[in-house]
């Protein structure tokens, strides 16, 4: 029982709990807050896995920007609680059973077939550092990087176009 393992188990439990909390919350705001917590937990996991840059990006982009945006919209749209659905009664049990099957398959893969086992080597010290990431981004993956910036531009334009109100409407 090393410290790492204990930390992992605790954090894992938190992650799963917050995920479940997001799933089952009545209120959308609560769900968003649970998700923020989840993202934070995952960021800690990233740190444990020698990905400090990604961890920081997770916190600032995901938990900071994306979730805030979510909360904005939740506030905008109102937070009424939806009544139970009248359509598709067969869907809930089917979905649950499917999820269980999916989970079962994954577990089967991992623990019966031992898909992802093996020794984990020790990485070099600077693995995952911002310098490394930066170097990779600006040399080998320059094209995807630039395209991503175009993508962001498109997203911005799209968001504006979708939501702009014509004068006189």
């Amino acid at each position: 029982m090393s410290a790492e393992l204990i930390a992992f188990i605790v954090l894992a439990l938190v992650a799963v709990a917050t995920a479940l909390g997001m799933l089952f919350s009545r209120s959308a705001v609560y769900s968003a807050l649970f998700l923020v917590l989840n993202f934070g937990t995952v960021a800690v996991f990233y740190l444990l896995l020698n990905a400090p840059f990604i961890a920081m990006a997770q916190v600032s982009v995901y938990a900071g920007a994306v979730m805030v945006l979510f909360l904005f919209v939740i506030m905008l749209l109102g937070t009424e609680v939806l009544p139970p659905s009248k359509a598709l009664p067969w869907q809930r049990p089917l979905a649950i059973s499917l999820a269980v099957i999916l989970f079962g398959e994954a577990i089967y893969l991992l623990f019966v077939r031992r898909a992802a086992s093996g020794d984990v080597p020790q990485p070099i010290q600077t693995f995952g550092s911002p310098q490394d990431i930066g170097r990779a981004l600006f040399t080998s993956y320059l094209l995807p990087f630039e395209i991503t910036s175009v993508l962001l531009l498109i997203a911005m334009v799209g968001a504006i176009v979708l939501t702009v109100r014509e004068k006189g409407k």
């Binding site: 996991f45 990604i54 919209v73 499917l98 999820a99």
Partner: protein, 100 residues
């Protein structure tokens, strides 16, 4: 370190929960958030394998995934806002005009 299997199992659990959320919840915002959860779970798996094989590519990929996810959230939320303006409802079951 913690065996990779546990991490991947965790990723699977989170993914499953996210999938369940997509299927069961009727608030589009919750559904969107569940999608983000699923993306996150995948990201976790990527990072774990990057660590396993000492390949930076995993992390680069996660970077791009995050960027794309952010862009997608922006557009998606704009869509939801627009839909809400016309239908005045955030029940995804009410948006069934693509019915065949």
């Amino acid at each position: 370190m913690v065996p990779v299997t546990y991490y991947v199992a965790l990723s699977a659990v989170l993914f499953t929960i996210g999938a369940l959320g997509v299927l069961i919840r009727r608030n589009p915002l919750i559904i969107f958030m569940s999608i983000e959860l699923m993306l996150n779970a995948a990201n976790l798996a990527f990072i774990v394998f990057a660590r396993l094989y000492s390949l930076l590519e995993g992390q680069i990929f996660v970077f791009f995934v995050m960027t794309v996810a952010a862009a997608e959230v922006a557009v998606g939320l704009a869509l939801i806002v627009t839909i809400f303006r016309t239908r005045h409802s955030i029940n995804i079951d009410d948006m069934n005009s693509l019915k065949g």
